[in-house]
Amino acid sequence: GAGVSQSPSNKVTEKGKDVELRCDPISGHTALYWYRQRLGQGLEFLIYFQGNSAPDKSGLPSDRFSAERTGESVSTLTIQRTQQEDSAVYLCASSLGLSPMGDTQYFGPGTRLTVL
């Protein structure tokens, strides 16, 4: 596609429910990233994929958070037993993944998650 897409754009859920957030990266981009942006704050790194493997999961805030990527394309971020503090905008980015540093990341529009 022309850019990174994410779905849904908005998700309202009740505390304790599970949610799945989807990211479609730019075609041909091998690297994929998930970030979280809480209200009025900068982005926090969650997890990074190179191909289908996740060499860096250091940003996942708890074991309720998990992510997978299949076919070096679509990625799903799953949050189990959601809590109110999980409310945030979840952003996905992709890059060519050719260089260890300085590779431009292209961001999707985000999924706004609200946990009631």
């Binding site: 990233y33 704050q41 260890p100």
Partner: protein, 113 residues
């Protein structure tokens, strides 16, 4: 560990006047540095990036930034603000050996007519 500090949470300027958004970085190596812009209800867009080439980096929409190692700064400037520049600006550093981005807390730029 790498980090960036954005010195101003809010900056207000009049249209047509210069813009200065300040950023200091902390890194034990020569970093890759970026500025991203986020307009309301829109995704993040890369303005410019520094990756150890020229220290003065030109970006889109007339923005530029200068890497100053002696001052550990990477301030964003524009000679003349436009109303459409009103947005949130993030200074970003790339973590060592990876493309993991570390974001500053952001500076909200307001432009008055």
């Amino acid at each position: 560990a790498q980090s960036v500090t954005q010195l101003d949470s809010h900056v207000s300027v009049s249209e047509g006047t210069p813009v200065l958004l300040r950023c200091n970085y902390s890194s034990s190596y020569s970093p890759s540095l970026f500025w991203y812009v986020q307009h309301p209800n829109k995704g993040l867009q890369l303005l410019l990036k520094y990756t150890s080439a020229a220290t003065l980096v030109k970006g889109i929409n007339g923005f530029e930034a200068e890497f100053k190692k002696s001052e550990t700064s990477f301030h964003l400037t524009k000679p003349s603000a436009h109303m459409s520049d009103a947005a949130e600006y993030f200074c970003v550093v790339s973590a060592l050996g990876t493309d993991k981005l570390i974001f500053g807390t952001g500076t909200r730029l307001q432009v008055f007519p």
